[in-house]
Amino acid sequence: MDALVALWAQAQAALFESVVQPAVFHLGLVSWLEAAFDATEIFMIGAAEIVVLAAVLGALEKWRPVEVWADRRPVRVDIAYTLLVRLGVLPLAIFFLLLPVVDGLDGWLRMHDFIPPKLEDAFPALFDHPVASFLAYLVVIDFVLYWVHRAQHAFGWWWALHALHHSQREMTFWTDDRNHLLDMVITDLVLAVAALLVGVAPGQFVAIVAVTRAVESLSHANVRLAFGRVGERLLVSPRFHRVHHAIGLGHEGARQGCNFAVLFPVWDHLFGTANPVREFPATGIRDQLHGRDYGEGFWRQQWLGLKRLAGRA
């Protein structure tokens, strides 16, 4: 394990010192060196994640696919989304967009004698147990994500954007990152403020994102896989999440959908949004059956999202 960590550190240092650091210096952004060093690792994690996901989840999808498509062209755009997100291109842009907002809020709070609390203040034992601390923050952030997801379906304007994610009818593990850019910005802003208010450290946040993304990729996979009677209540499975994407189920009913949880289905069980259907239904949005166009290419999808938001598509 130590050898693996050393190898990883060497690779990060080599990439950073040969490519990233000179670029940061020439751009006059030396104050961002540490952030750039962290970003280098985020890029590496993303690249490793893509390789592992493609190998493992790709094999799973071949082993027990829910659906087999002759034409896989609609999947290609999801691959582009995944590369843009997981290699850090879009997150970096959003980071620079949101940082002044979040730091501005944080600074303002402190000038008004409010230092944001952290879970460790309430549970000092977490100071000495980083794994427990990580799990505690993971649960809190997952809880926030559940309610963000509820809001994405509950508010018409937010659904106008989020519908892009649901419009994939050939859902695979690549689909997780298929989102409208504005949807990403809003979600990230809520998450960043939540992280600030509960005291998630930047390093912890990166780890939380990595774990969450891995589970999300699995839960979108085109694989006939469920976790059994108990497991289905513990972790979101491909079956559980597929029902959330199902035509006629995923965005309908009194609560505009079901199975909103990202990691832990307990939230759906607690708040009455769990759907226990033990099936693997077709994915998409009902109005696609009546010809509504959500676009095929990246830019068309983004443009149509904005038009829906303006009530013109």
Binding site: A13, E17, F25, I115, P116, F127, A201, G203
Partner: protein, 323 residues
């Protein structure tokens, strides 16, 4: 081959003997791993990390209390200070509600404890005795390192993104004046005669020397790309400066205001400590998760010790004098 083996053995024994002689029995080297929120406790004799202990979120810098009885770790993202046993690194206590402490420092008269809030563009001034907040001062962008005038009247803070440094009047608790510098000033160091401020210009390749009373730039000296942080050699005359991007360390003569030599140290050298016998330099190699030990006679790297992620501050009790 036999001869070579003996030489290595002798060298190793000499190193071990030196380490024993310099460090007190049971003394540890304490390293802050800013990336994973822990401290590495390193045995200076075996040169091994003995343990890694969680300390808080984003610990970047540390310093001894003025009485040298405790070591203060500033956890920037935890908004707290953790006090350690300076010899062993054992955690003694935690002081909460210290906002975003990045660099910290006591005024020489111990009256004020100053904390630069690197992320939130503030400098906070606390009462030295109680650590109660006295004043929160908004500043320019990215306040970084801190130095003091000998009479404790002024605190000087570099502002990395504003490319300037400010002088804070500690009695009035307001910014008295400011001066423009080169790009991204970081480390700031008061010469022992209290005359000059040395500033590492991290966005460029040099050191700037200011006559702070005359508020005048006296000199620029080329050192290396990413000139960053200082530590005294301990002879009252020389100071080391790490050049993070050049992967070098320069030795600066504070009397002649010249660079005497510059030698390579890999991995983005950052904070440094010098052993009290002046023979070794220990530095955090930020980008490679190591602490690097350099022999100051030969300027060769003696050891690289694996520690945690993004190691930043480091400390040991048997350090050279701070001047």
């Amino acid at each position: 081959m036999k001869y070579l083996g003996k030489t290595i053995l002798l060298a190793a024994m000499a190193w071990g003997a030196t380490a024993h002689a310099v460090f007190a029995p049971g003394e540890k080297v304490i390293v802050l791993n800013s990336g994973d929120g822990s401290i590495s406790i390193v045995d200076p004799v075996t040169r091994k990390e003995e343990k890694r202990v969680p300390v808080g979120k984003e610990p970047h810098h540390l310093m001894a209390t003025p009485d040298n009885k405790e070591l203060i770790v500033a956890n920037a993202a935890s908004n707290d200070l953790v006090f350690l046993d300076p010899k062993t690194g054992d955690i003694l206590r935690r002081v909460a509600d210290i906002s975003d402490p990045y660099q910290i420092g006591y005024s020489p008269d111990r009256k004020w404890f100053v904390s630069a809030s690197n992320r939130l563009d503030r400098v906070d001034i606390y009462h030295g005795a109680t650590l109660k907040l006295a004043r929160r001062l908004p500043t320019g962008k990215v306040p970084s390192h801190i130095a003091f005038s000998a009479d404790s009247k002024l605190a000087f803070v570099t502002l990395q993104e504003s490319s300037e440094f400010i002088a804070i009047d500690l009695e009035k608790q307001e910014i008295a004046w400011k001066m423009a510098t080169g790009k991204q000033p970081a480390g700031i160091w008061m010469t022992p005669d209290d005359r000059h401020l040395l500033i590492g210009i991290t966005g460029e390749s040099h050191l700037e020397i200011y006559d702070w009373r005359a508020r005048k730039l006296v000199k620029r000296i080329l050192t290396g790309l990413g000139a960053h942080n200082f530590v005294a050699k301990g002879d009252g005359r020389h100071v080391f400066l790490s050049n993070r991007m050049a992967n070098t360390i320069s030795l600066v003569d504070q009397q002649t205001l010249e660079v005497k030599e510059t030698f390579p140290v890999p991995g983005g050298p950052d904070c440094m400590e010098i052993t009290k016998d002046g023979r070794q330099l220990w530095t955090t190699s930020r980008w490679i998760r190591m602490v690097t030990v350099v022999d100051l006679e030969t300027k060769k790297v003696l050891h690289q010790i694996p520690v945690g992620k993004s190691p930043h501050g480091l400390y040991f009790q048997s350090h050279a004098p701070r001047r």
